[in-house]
Symmetry: C2
Subunit: 339 residues, 2 copies
């Protein structure tokens, strides 16, 4: 039988109220002697509070929800791990919600989370699938529920909102500048969905780099992918009749697709084509031709997301927090100088 607060009260001859006060370290006038007595009994009986009871009474659950499209994707898994570690440090729990990019399922999850008195929700926005509405509606749902929300990137939402963010325009700029500085002038771009802020920012950065270095921009060198491996392959097929010496893929997974797409046309990396990715997936340093890429500190961003949410539950009426993270160009073997 699990020990309750009553058992401790009984064991010490005190009241449940006193026990609760001590166990929660509430400001109150409990003598040190009593305090000791309670703590001793609690340890003795191996007491652990029943979180259902606590939740019911306080309306809080000391748990956060994480909504991601697919936990198998290293990008989201890393974010999850960051949040999880931060939660663990504070004695909180993380509820995992993997939506397969389905907004309807996303909505169901949000309602389940609310029913669980979840204290905060972190969302990594789903690239909108064809024929489905975007995350907008679900975001409003969360906000109406008054549940603290933290987003990855700003995703075009213009109201102030909690978020962990990288300056993707700068990221796009850095990647492009790197290629230009190696002598590349004919660069192909495999982007993400233009509806995602992170993707359109990157693209802006690319264009700015072209402008700064006086290169002519050409929309024909663009292929809009959806951040999947397959999109990388398809992109190369699409671009196969164009003339380019470098490819910038907007994430590493698509860059892997590019690798294999190029192989199909007997082009090798970096001899024939230089490739830059984005994210620094854990495999990028491992694969046969290690990938030059822009590193996002996803793990740290996950940690920060959890911290923001936990902070928000303690200080509900504070202004939205936006934490910026630095991107870093990691030069490996997939890019090389040309004449």
């Amino acid at each position: 039988m699990k020990t309750t607060i009553k058992d401790i009260a009984q064991a010490t001859g005190l009241s449940p109220a006193t026990v609760s006060l001590v166990l929660n370290n509430r400001p109150s006038r409990i003598s040190d002697a009593t305090r000791e007595r309670v703590l001793a009994a609690a340890a003795e009986l191996g007491y652990r509070s029943n979180s259902a009871a606590v939740s019911l009474r306080t309306g809080r659950s000391y748990s956060l929800g994480l909504i991601v499209p697919d936990i198998r994707n290293d990008y989201y898994a890393t974010y999850a791990k960051g949040m999880e570690d931060a939660c663990q440090e504070m004695g909180w729990s993380l509820i995992l919600c993997s939506t397969n990019g389905n907004p309807e399922r996303e909505r169901q999850y949000i309602e389940t989370l609310q029913a669980k008195s979840i204290d905060g929700i972190a969302v990594v926005t789903t690239p909108p699938l064809t024929g489905t509405q975007s995350f907008e509606a679900n975001r409003d749902l969360i906000l109406r529920m008054q549940i603290p929300l933290v987003q990855m990137d700003l995703t075009g939402y213009r109201e102030p909102i909690n978020a962990v963010v990288c300056d993707h325009e700068k990221g796009g700029y850095m990647a492009t500048r790197h290629l230009i500085s190696l002598g590349h002038q004919k660069i192909a771009f495999i982007t993400g969905p233009s509806s995602l802020e992170g993707s359109s920012s990157r693209l802006k950065g690319c264009m700015r780099a072209f402008h700064d270095y006086g290169l002519p921009w050409d929309d024909k060198m663009l292929y809009e992918g959806d951040y999947t491996y397959a999109a990388g392959l398809d992109g190369i097929d699409y671009l196969s009749d164009r003339d380019f010496t470098a490819v910038f893929a907007f994430n590493d997974l698509m860059a892997y697709g590019v690798y294999n797409g190029l192989a199909k046309y007997s082009l090798s990396v970096p001899e024939d084509v230089s490739v830059v990715g984005y994210d620094d997936h854990f495999l990028s340093s491992i694969i046969s031709v290690p990938l030059t890429t822009i590193r996002q500190p996803i793990y740290e961003m996950g940690k920060e997301a959890a911290r923001i949410l936990i902070y928000k539950t303690e200080h509900p009426d504070t202004k939205p927090v936006i934490t910026w993270f630095d991107l870093k160009l990691i030069v490996r073997k997939s890019t090389r100088k040309i004449c």
Copy 2:
């Protein structure tokens, strides 16, 4: 303000008891008219039950816990996704516990989960780190708490226990036989920790294949890894002065290490050395030399694990369930015939 069962009672002029009975579809004598009235009001007011209250009253939470060493590892992430999908189908939730292979942290998690009245726990055993105790103690803890537990593989536990299992001896046999049938006789093995059942079974299978085909077994061709990428690299370093034409790595991650380890010695796959992996990691079909491997249906096993746990909460006093899954040899480009 959230709608409660009382609000519905008020709105319909009925009692909370009636409302609860209807909403939970309890066997009772409620007239169809009343039933309709309750359902209508519930829909109208957008009622969702408060799970803290339900948990407190019933001692159940409709959530499962998943304990894995590292969610970033595709193997565990796939398992997680399987469980998550099964949970979602039934309206349950999944609480993620990533332990970094630390048994102490594992223990903390188990206690947190109990405090949350978790209905079941799935564990993928942590390879014991040096200087730490194994999962044994924590398993006993869970069992003492009377929480349904389902394991991945049997891990040497001889009492009957819920588990999802592959016949790894057969897996080891299949991989080895494949290499032998291609003409390989000098085969190196990079195993997992011998304390893990899955690993020692594979090894048994390898030895049986050698025996069946009349080949001499040599313990010197063995390197005990720990299922990490680095162990693959180290294994090749360790084996570098041996004479072999093929390597069987006990998981794909180590096989990737083997790839790069071999490259260091200017050996190429499959021309100089054939490589077989185990698991069928999602990258194995993607990498430049696609990996021949033994596929475990991890996703399905995760689904089944969740199903077993949910079943167990409904039928507590049934015998332990062990579900077996088939392994499959996936032949790709990393193995070739030799003379």
